[in-house]
C-alpha cells in the first residue's frame, strides 16, 4: 500500500528534467512576447475593421496563456464571441474556465510577464483622439463670428485660444471613431481607453478601493486623469453626481468618507460610480455580486440594469451564477476550460440548453421552486488547463460521451442563427445560412 502510494505521488509531481524543460521553454516564449511588446507600434497596425458593425467588442480566436512553472496554462484557448452594442452579455463558467482572463485580456491587464496574449484579436470600437503629426491631440477651439462675418477663434485675456468644453466639463479634442485591436495595441495607447472607454468593476469591493484615500479622492483622481482640462470644482460636482446616480442617499457625506466606513454593498456602488465617471461604452463587471449578500446582490443587479439604460452602454457580465445571468443578460456565453462551449441568447441557453455541461450545470443547481430528492451532479472535477489533450475537455465528465468524442476537439456548430454549441452530439444539425 505504502509503496503504491509513493509511486502515485511521484507520478503526480513533475520530475526535475521536465521542470528544466518547462523553464527553458517558458523563458524563451516570454522573451519573445516581451520583445514584441517593446517595439514601437504604428497606429496602422492595430486599427482594423469590425466584422459586424452592430458589435462593440469582438473576440476572435483569442489565446491567452500563462507560462507557469508547471507548464503552459492555456487559460483562454481560442475564444470567439462578440458583444453587441447596447446589450448585456453574460460570460458563465466555473473557476478556472478562463472567464476572468478573457476580461483581463480585454483590459490588457493580464499579469505579465508570465501571462501573455499569444494570438487572436480583440476588436473594440473606440472613440480615439485624433493626433497631429507630432502625436499630440488636436483641440477644438471656441469660435465666434466677428462683425465682418468671419469665423475667428476666441481668445482669452492672455491671448491664448479658448478650448471648447465637452459635456463632462473637460477640454474638447477632435475625436475619430476607430476600431482597434486591443491584442496588438501598445500599452501607451491602451491607457487612454482603459477607464475612459472600457471600465471594470471587480469582485472584491473590500480590496479594490485604496484604504488610505477618501472615496471623493479616488473618484476625483479618475476624473482628473481622463477628463483633461476639467476644473477641481467640476470634478467634485461630477463625482457627487455619479454617487447620486448609483443610488447613494447621502453623496456629499460618502464623498468625504474612507472605504472602511462603508459596507460591502456601498463600496460596490462606489466602484460602479468610479466606472461610470467617464461615460464608458462598455462596462466589464467581473463577478460584481459574488462577495455580497442576496439582498444586496438584488440591489446591485437592479442598479446595473438601471445604469445600462441611463448611459446607453454595454455590459460584459462575468459570473458563475446562472441565476444572475438569466436575470441580467441578453446573450450568454458558456465557457469551460478556456473554451467557449455554447453561446446564444439567454432564451436559447436557458430554454434549450444543448451542451451536456450546460444542461448539467442547470440541473445541478437547487432552486427554491423546484422539488428534488437528489440533485443531479456532474461527476469529477474542473480540469486544470495544463497540457490539455486534443479532445473534448468535458469528455471525462460527460454522460453522453460517444466514441467520436475521443477525436479532435469539436468546433462550434451553429444550430440556429443565434445559438451555437461545441459538441459532437449536434453534428449535422448545422444551419448553413447563418
Amino acid at each position: 500500500m505504502a509503496d503504491n502510494n509513493k509511486k502515485e505521488i511521484k507520478k503526480h509531481y513533475i520530475t526535475r528534467s521536465e521542470s528544466r524543460k518547462i523553464a527553458k521553454e517558458n523563458s524563451r516564449a516570454i522573451a519573445g512576447f516581451e520583445k514584441q511588446k517593446k517595439r514601437k507600434v504604428r497606429p496602422e497596425e492595430y486599427v482594423t475593421q469590425m466584422k459586424d458593425d452592430k458589435n462593440i467588442v469582438e473576440f476572435e480566436d483569442l489565446h491567452t496563456y500563462f507560462f507557469s512553472d508547471s507548464g503552459t496554462v492555456k487559460a483562454v484557448n481560442g475564444v470567439t464571441f462578440s458583444v453587441p452594442a447596447g446589450s448585456t452579455v453574460g460570460v458563465v463558467g466555473e473557476s478556472g474556465c478562463g472567464k476572468s482572463v478573457t476580461s483581463l485580456s480585454l483590459m490588457q491587464l493580464v499579469q505579465a510577464p508570465s501571462g501573455q496574449i499569444v494570438s487572436g484579436s480583440i476588436r473594440f470600437r473606440a472613440d480615439m483622439f485624433k493626433l497631429d503629426e507630432k502625436g499630440k491631440k488636436i483641440p477644438v477651439y471656441e469660435k465666434y463670428t466677428d462683425e465682418n462675418g468671419e469665423e475667428k477663434i476666441k481668445l482669452d485675456e492672455k491671448g491664448k485660444p479658448v478650448i471648447r468644453k465637452n459635456g463632462l466639463g473637460g477640454n474638447m479634442y477632435e475625436m475619430e471613431r476607430q476600431v482597434v485591436d486591443i491584442a496588438k495595441m501598445p500599452t501607451e495607447a491602451m491607457r487612454s481607453i482603459r477607464g475612459r472607454e472600457v471600465a471594470m468593476i471587480f469582485q472584491e469591493p473590500m480590496t479594490s478601493l485604496n484604504p488610505v484615500f477618501t472615496i471623493g479622492n479616488q473618484l476625483d483622481e479618475v476624473g482628473r486623469l481622463h477628463i483633461e482640462g476639467i476644473s477641481k470644482h467640476q470634478v467634485k460636482a461630477r463625482s457627487i453626481e455619479m454617487l447620486q446616480l448609483v443610488g447613494i442617499a447621502d453623496p456629499e457625506g460618502v464623498y468625504k468618507k474612507y472605504p472602511h466606513e462603508l459596507s460591502g454593498g456601498m463600496r460596490q456602488r462606489v466602484m460602479i460610480a468610479i466606472a461610470l465617471l467617464c461615460n464608458p461604452k462598455l462596462i466589464v463587471a467581473d463577478e460584481p455580486t459574488t462577495a455580497l449578500d442576496v439582498t444586496i446582490q438584488a440591489q446591485i443587479l437592479d442598479l446595473l440594469r438601471d445604469i445600462k439604460g441611463k448611459i446607453n452602454g454595454s455590459i460584459m457580465l462575468i459570473t458563475h451564477d446562472l441565476g444572475v445571468v438569466a436575470e441580467m443578460a441578453d446573450y450568454v456565453v458558456v465557457m469551460y476550460a478556456g473554451r467557449v462551449i455554447e453561446m446564444g441568447t439567454a432564451e436559447d441557453i436557458f430554454d434549450n440548453p444543448l451542451h451536456p455541461y450546460t444542461i448539467g450545470l442547470q440541473k445541478s443547481k437547487p432552486t427554491v421552486d423546484k422539488e428534488a430528492d437528489s440533485l443531479y451532479c456532474i461527476p469529477g472535477f474542473v480540469p486544470n488547463p495544463i497540457n490539455m489533450p486534443n479532445y473534448c475537455y468535458f469528455r471525462d465528465r460527460c454522460e453522453k460521451c460517444m466514441e467520436k468524442c475521443s477525436g479532435e476537439y469539436p468546433g462550434l456548430i451553429k444550430v440556429s442563427d443565434t445559438h451555437s454549441v461545441s459538441c459532437y452530439l449536434y453534428e449535422g444539425e448545422e444551419v448553413k445560412n447563418g
Binding site: 509513493k6 449578500d293 437592479d302 451564477d321 445571468v325 450545470l361 437547487p366 440533485l375 443531479y376 486544470n384
Partner: protein
C-alpha cells in the same frame, strides 16, 4: 444541608430522557467592542441574542440569513469555539454549556464542524492523512494498528483517492479540500455536524456533489446536521427545519414546508424574492430591501428589521415583537401576526417599561441637578460630571436664584 442542595438541583431541570437530541435555550454571545478606562467592556456586539430551538436526532436544521446576522457565530458558540455569554445548550440531555472546558473536550468528537473556507481550514503543513486521522488517534477512536486503514476507509467514504494520503492540501482544488474537511469531521464518528456554509466557496458543479454526499452520509451514518448557509435553495434542498436569522435573533422558524410555502416574516419574504432564478422568462416582482443590514453594535430599537421592512407599522419602531408560535411548529417574530390582545399587552408592557425608564431618568436628572447645584454653590470649577444642557440650565437658574436670595438676605441687615 447537603441533601437539600441535591434535591433542589435535581428538581429544577427537565430530566434527561425528556430532552430532545439538541436543545438550545436563549443562547447569547456578546463580543465586547468598547472598553472603559479600566479595560472593562462597556459596549457589546450582540452577535447572537437569545436564540432557542430544538432539534430531533437525524434531522437537519437549516439556518439562513445575511452575512453579519450571527449564524456563523451561533454555530461556533454551540460548539463552544467561542465562550457562551449566557443560555444553555443541551446535547443528548446533558447541559454541555455548564461543563468545564476539559470535560467538554472529551465530548468534542460527538459534535463536529465543517468550515466555510476549505482553503483556510486545512493546516497547510500537514499531510491529508494526518489532518484526517490526527484527532481520531488522540481520542483513541481507532487502534494504533488499524489507524491507516481506518483513515483510508474514511477517505474513500468521502470520495478521496487513497494516494492522497501523503499529499498536502494545497495541491487540491476547492471541492477536494472540502471533502478532506468532511472526512476530518467524520473520522471522529460524530453525531451532530454543524456545516458552516460548506458549499458557498465551491463551483456550482462541485456544490451538487458535496450536497449529495452530505445527504448520503446523513442517511448512512444517521447524522444530525445544522446547515448554515446564505443560499436559500441549498437550505431548502437539505433541511427538514429552517430558521431565519436577522441581527442575532431568530425571526422565523419552522418546518421546511411551512417556511417555504407559507412564509410569514417580511424579511424571509424579501430574502426569497432576492434569489435570482435561472430562467430569463421569470421577471420576478422583487421585494428589494433598502439599505444595508444595520450594525449589530447599535441595533435599531423595537423590531430590529423595521428600518428595512416594507410593511413597517408605527408599533415596530418602538416595541420588539414576541417570538411566538403562529402556526403549529412555525414560529415568527413579527407584529403583523399579533392578535389584538397581544398588541394591547405589548403596548401595556411598553408603557410600563417606559414609565419605569422615565422614572429612572427623572431620578437621575434630579440627582444630577442637586449635585450640580451644590457644585456650583461650592464654587467647584472643575466638575467632571457632564449633564444634559437642560439640567445645566436648570441648575444655573436655580443657583443664580439662590445667590440672588442670599444677596437679598445680606442686604436686609445693612439697611
Amino acid at each position: 444541608m447537603a441533601d437539600n442542595n441535591i434535591e433542589v438541583n435535581t428538581a429544577e431541570p427537565v430530566p434527561a430522557t425528556e430532552r430532545e437530541f439538541l436543545e438550545v435555550e436563549n443562547l447569547c454571545k456578546y463580543f465586547p467592542v468598547g472598553f472603559d478606562f479600566f479595560g472593562r467592556p462597556n459596549k457589546f456586539l450582540k452577535a447572537v441574542d437569545g436564540v432557542s430551538f430544538k432539534l430531533k436526532k437525524g434531522k437537519t436544521l437549516g439556518i439562513v440569513g445575511e452575512s453579519g446576522c450571527g449564524k456563523t457565530t451561533m454555530g461556533r458558540t454551540l460548539l463552544r469555539l467561542y465562550d457562551i455569554t449566557s443560555g444553555d445548550v443541551y446535547f443528548k440531555g446533558q447541559n454541555v454549556s455548564a461543563l468545564k472546558n476539559r470535560e467538554f473536550d472529551k465530548l468534542r468528537p460527538n459534535m463536529q464542524m465543517i468550515f466555510q473556507d476549505p482553503y483556510a481550514s486545512l493546516s497547510p503543513r500537514l499531510t491529508v492523512g494526518e489532518i484526517i486521522g490526527e484527532a481520531a488517534r488522540q481520542h483513541k477512536i481507532v487502534e494504533k494498528s488499524g489507524y491507516q486503514d481506518y483513515v483510508l476507509e474514511v477517505m474513500r467514504m468521502c470520495g478521496l483517492q487513497p494516494h492522497y494520503f501523503e499529499r498536502y492540501p494545497h495541491e487540491f482544488s476547492g471541492g477536494q479540500r472540502q471533502r478532506i474537511c468532511i472526512a476530518r469531521a467524520l473520522a471522529l464518528k460524530p453525531e451532530l455536524v454543524i456545516c458552516d456554509e460548506p458549499v458557498s466557496a465551491l463551483d456550482v458543479s462541485i456544490q451538487a456533489q458535496i450536497i449529495n454526499m452530505l445527504i448520503e452520509l446523513r442517511k448512512n451514518l444517521g447524522l444530525t446536521y445544522i446547515f448554515i448557509s446564505h443560499d436559500l435553495s441549498v437550505v431548502k434542498h437539505i433541511s427538514d427545519e429552517v430558521g431565519v436569522m436577522y441581527l442575532g435573533t431568530m425571526v422565523e422558524y419552522g418546518s421546511r414546508d411551512s417556511i417555504f410555502n407559507n412564509t410569514l416574516h417580511p424579511y424571509t419574504k424579501a430574502l426569497f424574492s432576492a434569489v435570482p432564478v435561472p430562467n430569463p422568462h421569470v421577471k420576478m416582482n422583487r421585494i428589494i430591501l433598502k439599505g444595508d443590514i444595520p450594525s449589530p453594535v447599535n441595533p435599531p430599537s423595537g423590531c430590529k428589521f423595521h428600518t428595512r421592512c416594507e410593511k413597517c407599522m408605527e408599533i415596530c419602531g418602538r416595541i420588539a415583537p414576541n417570538y411566538k408560535e403562529v402556526e403549529e411548529g412555525h414560529f415568527c417574530a413579527c407584529h403583523l401576526y399579533n392578535t389584538v390582545e397581544e398588541t394591547e399587552q405589548l403596548e401595556l408592557k411598553y408603557e410600563e417599561e417606559r414609565r419605569l425608564a422615565e422614572e429612572k431618568a427623572d431620578e437621575l436628572a434630579k440627582k444630577q441637578f442637586w449635585k450640580k447645584v451644590t457644585d456650583k454653590l461650592h464654587g467647584a470649577e472643575k466638575n467632571n460630571n457632564v449633564v444634559s444642557p437642560e439640567v445645566e440650565e436648570k441648575a444655573d437658574s436655580a443657583v443664580s436664584e439662590a445667590l440672588a436670595d442670599k444677596e437679598n438676605v445680606k442686604d436686609v441687615p445693612k439697611e
